[in-house]
């Protein structure tokens, strides 16, 4: 049974007929063809499907289409629209933070969420903010470097204290 659901997606209004129980990740990827958000585990453990709902980072694999009604949704495709988002995406490329890339949209969404609230976070704060995002290729070090690079007042990547996962 489909219902018309309306919400704001990356700054534009959308209206789409969908079962209210369709997972938000399927609605975004399959129906709206925004394939930047990834599904890793489908159970909230990996962060690859992270999106902003209003001003909060949330997981699209654990949300239903019906929960999006009337909300403001920002996906990785919406990030380049803001100066901070664009700077962040560039920093990930410059810092060499990307290997296979599958986790990166979720990482960038979580990092964007942090930098909006805290323009100049410490490495420790960055690791905390990204602690729900798993990467199986990198050692996280260059990912943290990338967020530092994008942060205001940064003087370039610091030498990492250690290589452990956040």
């Amino acid at each position: 049974m489909s219902t018309d659901i309306e919400f704001e997606l990356n700054g534009k209004p959308v209206r789409i007929a969908t079962p209210e129980t369709r997972r938000a990740i399927d609605l975004l990827r399959e129906d709206l063809h925004l394939t930047g958000s990834k599904e890793g585990c489908g159970a909230g453990e990996c962060g690859a499907c992270a999106v902003l709902i209003g001003d909060e980072i949330r997981l699209a694999c654990l949300m239903l289409a019906g929960q999006l009604a009337g909300r403001r949704v920002t996906t990785i495709e919406g990030l380049p629209h803001s100066a901070l988002g664009a700077r962040l995406l560039r920093a990930f490329a410059e810092a060499g933070a990307v290997q296979c890339g599958y986790c990166i949209p979720g990482m960038e969404m979580a990092a964007f969420d942090l930098l909006r609230r805290e323009p100049d976070p410490s490495r420790e704060r960055i690791r905390e903010a990204l602690s729900g995002n798993l990467c199986r290729c990198t050692g996280y070090v260059k990912i943290v470097d990338a967020v530092r690079l994008a942060a205001a007042g940064d003087a370039g990547p610091e030498s990492p204290p250690d290589g452990a996962a956040a």
Binding site: A43, L59, Q67, E128, A166
Partner: protein, 298 residues
Amino acid sequence: MTRFHAAHSLTEALALLHEETDTRPMAGGTDILVRMRRSPPAVPLTLIGIEGVPELQGIREEPSWLSIGAATPFAAIAASPLIAAHAPLLQDAARAVGAPAIRNMATLGGNLCTASPAGDSLPPLYVLDAEVELASKAGRRRMAVSDFILGPGETQLEPGEILCRVLVPHAPPIARCQFEKVGRRRSLAIAVASFAGLLRVDGAGRIAGARFAFGSVGPAAVTVPEAEALLRGQLAVQPDPAAVERAVLAVCATVRPIDDLRASASYRRALAGNLLRRFLSPPSSPGLNAATGHASHG
């Protein structure tokens, strides 16, 4: 096929729960959606979305208690100055839940209704003597959190009932409290064991009331009244080591841990005792058992 209805008021949520058969409240969805995906329900369910119900949101100080709306997410509890002032144990537990995105979704009420032995909010709520308020079309009722939780996945919640608020009663000042969660990593880890403890002292610095609760070492949070009684009258800053050891033994004898993929029962038993020993021992004292070490990253 399941259905989903978002409710916009408590009255609407209760009516929807009542009218339709096979309904379930859904708050943040972080437990119920994972569970339904793992084992799809035999009958189609109607999920009643309650995260947008204003009556279930928010943290308020009232004359007898701190009132926490059941659909308040852990992120709000972690950030609340009222929680910091009245229930720092619950704040520390909220900060230990999942990771940032999970904390924006996962609610306190969902944590209680899921009734996992590893639920991070349970040990703090037990030692704070917190109560739950339940509502149905028939009216409201209140009970202690420790009575509400019956066992893994089991509570006193009746069909058609919604957990509305968690009430933390105002109580005499707490001299010292501590929440500890031991897991395989710091984020997104289910507790191998967890601990909430608090001490109240008299004018001479002696323990007038000690409360402890342990998570992940029994079917629900485990309290050990015997250990609490053993410590009464001890100097809070330096309790008699023999009394501490007796309390630790009482804890080890009371907990009922299981073996699972995260840890063995015997490890959990030793851990529970060590968590109490560490809480009672002044920070500088030597001889802490290595088993209580915080799990590090990765």
